[in-house]
């Protein structure tokens, strides 16, 4: 039933434009896997190649041990939830959900039972006789979901399924999808451009940009240890600072930041020369000494205070200070010194490869 999905060196071109270059993924059985990236990064292209709606120009796609490159879309046994739901407008809720089972020639009594179960799972059983035009966006979403998993597909694909819902409903549906996926154990590939959604829902995430996979990891890994400046900037908020790796002894690099601050960073491999580091707003703090700057703006957000600090050369930093850790607020215009925890920042060489452990 459920399957692992292996993609080797996938390539997609539109004329001269390369939409996907050499993408390889290994999605484990029963995993909730998310393709995350800005629009145009190739995530939907890849999803549609898996579904069979885009031709595969290069590479190999496997469900388990079966090569599916040349299997037509309707024989791939995939459930898919479309961005706009794609509910069949002329069929009732019940008929929509039964559609895939009828195509599989499932006996009538079993269809009835499975449709009922599916509708019950997404909590819309009372609506089974309605036409799609009589449903709200969230209800249509549930129909689309039920229709996709009722066929017990080997893989479930979701193409930005929550993007048409309002913020509150999005959070609610997100947890319904997550719980359902856990319960059914279907290998799921989920596409979104919303990083918060990806972090909340996924077992693992592949961050994509310009047709390439930038990093694959658990939400925690991707947030805490971004492997390149793109991931650091795309997931959450990061402050980037130019710096110099002055020397490298063993697994510790001596890093000088603008000549104002020297820190020791644990690294994976030896490197000296120009470098770049990224730090989350909550990893920066006000100190007795460090990089000198001036508070430009402060925003009180309840559990934390967000400061915008301008360094001497004009570069801006965002610093979050938790309300529980401090009793005073810094005034706008106040001269401050900024420092950070060297063990939690990310350090990149000139090519954008991660150095820090």
């Amino acid at each position: 039933m459920s399957n692992e999905v292996i993609i080797k060196n996938a390539v997609k071109r539109y004329g001269d434009f390369t939409a996907l270059s050499d993408v390889s993924l290994h999605i484990r059985e029963g995993e909730f896997f998310t393709l995350l990236g800005p629009s145009g990064c190739g995530k939907t292209t890849l999803l549609r190649m898996i579904a069979g709606f885009n031709s595969i120009e290069g590479g190999e796609f496997y469900f388990g041990s079966n090569l599916i490159n040349d299997v037509p879309a309707h024989k791939r046994d995939i459930g898919m939830v479309f961005q706009n739901y794609a509910i069949f407008p002329h069929l009732t809720v019940e008929e929509n959900v039964a559609y895939g089972l009828k195509a599989r020639k499932v006996p009538k009594a079993e269809i009835e039972r499975r449709v009922k179960e599916a509708l019950d799972l997404v909590q819309i059983l009372p609506l089974k006789g309605r036409k799609p035009s009589e449903l709200s966006g969230g209800q249509q979403q549930r129909v689309a979901l039920a229709r996709a998993f009722v066929i017990e597909p080997s893989v479930l694909l979701m193409d930005e399924p929550l993007s048409n819902l309002d913020a509150k409903l999005r959070v609610q549906m997100r947890s319904i999808i997550k719980k359902l996926q856990r319960r059914l154990g279907i290998t799921t590939i989920y596409v979104t451009h919303d990083q918060e959604e990806a972090l909340a829902i996924s077992d693992r995430i592949a961050v994509m940009n310009q047709g390439k996979v930038m990093q694959i990891g658990t939400p925690r890994e991707i947030y805490a240890k971004p492997e390149n400046p793109f991931v650091a900037g795309f997931i959450g908020v990061s402050n980037f600072l130019k710096c110099d790796v002055v020397s490298c002894a063993g697994e510790t690099a001596k890093v000088s930041i603008r000549g104002e601050l020297d820190i020791d960073v644990p690294v994976r491999s030896a490197y000296t020369g120009n470098a770049q580091l990224s730090a989350r707003p909550e990893q920066l703090f006000f100190a007795e000494k460090g990089m000198p700057g001036k508070v430009l703006f402060s925003t009180f957000l309840g559990d934390f205070i967000e400061y915008e600090v301008e360094l001497d050369d004009g570069q801006l930093l965002i610093i979050n200070e938790y309300t529980k850790d401090t009793t005073t607020m810094h005034e706008v215009g106040e001269k401050v010194f900024i420092s950070f925890d060297a063990t939690r920042i990310s350090l990149y060489n000139e090519a954008g490869e991660v150095l820090s452990k």
């Binding site: 390539v11 120009e57 290069g58 309707h74 995939i78 706009n84 794609a86």
Partner: protein
């Protein structure tokens, strides 16, 4: 990585659809027109290829004045149709005219009525022996004549102003009211608001409507034939050159056809320029509000609208009334009865049968091909699709009489002889009326999200089965409204039928024309009533089915 992209042609169902449609279009559009083109550069007077025909056309007054006359008629008609159409569109969209929606239906009905019935009815009223003419002369006054240039323009304007009305009111209804409110807020008075905001935004639609009027005028054969008397216009000359009993000259007729098509193509190019360059897309959140008029002002705004709609519908009323009046050969009223209908049933039953049979067969093909072609145009884009797209709209610019001649000269010799058969009539209907259905079908498909089809395929139904059980079925209502328009124009079709009919394949429209020429008013009226009633019923069905949202233009 280094794998080359696979680019082999898929030999699937759609490949065969495209191939078949392309072959059919080449055979029934390109080939006939090519034959006309080649005929036009030959002559029985001169050896070899020659521009003799064109030279004669542009130097002999007998020929070139028809072009001038055609252009004069088209220009005058367009001007007046534009003024009337825009006025009515403005009044109807902005003021509380009583009975608005029924007036709207009446205006569409008058457009869909057979074009030459207008001419015929006005002869009955204002012709030499007309009802009004006789009444006026009995008073000792001289009645205005319906024959000649002014008469043709009068009848054309009443028949065609709905095009301008429909385009313009469509655009006016899509102007968000905040646009005019913004202008008001910025300090513009009402007249200047209309002049600086409303009119410029609506202008492309008005022009599009005007070009429809111009092109229809240019191609129309029935009205100027019946009313022209000595005032011969281009399509009538084409008919005379090709069909006249004295001296038929297919070479000259072909040359004239080329001239007409050239004119229409120029117009179509102009239209593309205007419509594509200057079309504003607006998001209409709040449609414009109508202003409530009261008392005298409401009356004053309504009277002109009612007057125009009444004049536009008058031909239909006259025709229906006339159909029950039995007259002697001298025109004396013999009684009010059904004798006209008895006469046509016994004498012209074949024509009635032919009209419905041919149109029905044509419409079946039109619906099937309409669905398949729309799907190819919208979902299977590519070189073949864009060639089909261009070719399928070509009959829009070819007047019926020209297509008729093209089909005759192309298929009156081996290898394919079709002249005189029912097949050639049906083919001409399909080719000419298919665009309506393809347009409505593809418009519908553009709104339909492809992911609905993908969802079906994804759930395990093959693409072919998905198309037939899901897509085609969902397209049907969209295609149907276009198909009914195709159907109505098929049963009312005259200009190509009159070229292509033979004794056994004559239709109602052809018979009406012949009866009118033969001064047999009663039977013509009875035949015309049959067409009108069929048209009205068909239109009402579309109105019901689409809840009044039918798109004629």
């Amino acid at each position: 990585m280094t794998e080359r992209p696979r680019r082999k042609i898929k030999l699937d169902f759609w490949f065969f659809v495209k191939a078949f449609v392309l072959v059919a279009l080449c055979l029934f559009i390109i080939y006939p027109f090519y034959t006309i083109l080649t005929k036009s550069i030959f002559s029985d007077k001169v050896e070899g290829m020659t521009l003799y025909n064109f030279q004669r056309f542009f130097t002999k007054k007998y020929y070139y004045r028809t072009l001038i006359r055609s252009l004069v008629i088209c220009s005058l008609t367009t001007l007046f149709a534009c003024i009337i159409g825009v006025f009515i569109a403005y009044v109807m969209t902005r003021y509380n005219i009583p009975g608005k929606s029924i007036l709207h239906v009446f205006i569409i009905l008058s457009l869909m009525s057979p074009p030459f019935i207008g001419a015929y009815s006005w002869i009955v009223l204002l012709g030499r022996n007309g009802l009004i003419t006789r009444a006026i002369t009995a008073l000792g006054l001289s009645a205005p004549t319906i024959y000649g240039r002014n008469g043709i323009v009068f009848v054309f304007v009443l028949h065609l102003f709905p095009y301008v009305y429909l385009y313009t009111s469509g655009a006016m209804n899509s102007i968000d009211s905040s646009l005019e409110e913004a202008a008001e807020n910025l300090g513009m008075n009402k007249l200047r608001r209309i002049w600086t905001i409303t009119l410029p935004v609506v202008l492309p639609s008005i022009l599009a409507g005007c070009i429809m009027v111009f092109m229809t005028c240019l191609a129309d054969f029935g009205t100027p034939m019946l009313l022209g008397e000595g005032y011969t216009v281009l399509p009538v000359l084409v008919y005379n050159e090709y069909m006249s009993e004295s001296a038929t000259n297919p070479y000259m007729a072909s040359c004239l056809s080329v001239v007409i098509v050239a004119c229409s193509m120029i117009l179509l190019a102009v239209q593309k320029l205007i419509v594509e360059k200057k079309n504003y897309t607006m998001s209409t959140l709040r449609p414009p509000q109508e202003t409530k008029l009261h008392g005298v002002r409401r009356f004053a705004a309504s009277v002109p609208v009612y007057l125009v709609v009444f004049l536009a519908l008058l031909p239909q009323i006259v025709v229906v009334c006339q159909s029950f009046v039995e007259r002697s050969f001298s025109g004396m009223v013999q009684g009010i009865n059904l004798n006209n209908y008895r006469a046509i049933l016994s004498r012209l039953g074949q024509n009635i049968f032919n009209t419905y049979a041919f149109s029905l067969v044509a419409i079946v093909f039109i619906v099937i091909f309409g669905i398949l072609i729309s799907y190819v145009l919208v979902r299977k884009k590519g070189k073949a699709a864009s060639v089909i797209d261009t070719l399928i709209m070509f009959p829009y610019v070819i007047p019926g009489s020209v297509l008729g001649i093209g089909l005759i000269v192309a298929f009156n010799r081996k290898p394919i002889v079709l002249v005189g058969t029912a097949a050639i009539m049906i083919i001409s209907y399909i080719v000419r009326k298919l665009p309506y259905t393809v347009r409505s079908g593809s418009a519908f498909l553009y709104q339909m999200d492809p992911s609905v089809e993908e969802a079906s395929i994804n759930l395990g139904v093959s693409p072919m089965k998905t198309f037939f059980t899901m897509t085609a079925r969902m397209m049907l209502p969209g295609v149907m409204s276009g198909a009914v328009l195709s159907w109505i124009t098929c049963i009312n079709e005259l200009s190509s039928s009159i070229m292509l009919y033979s004794g056994k394949t004559s239709t109602i429209a052809v018979a009406i024309y012949q009866e009118v020429v033969r001064m047999s008013d009663g039977t013509a009226a009875a035949l015309a009533t049959i067409l009108s009633v069929t048209t009205v019923i068909s239109m009402l069905i579309v109105f019901r089915a689409t809840k009044g949202k039918v798109k004629i233009v």
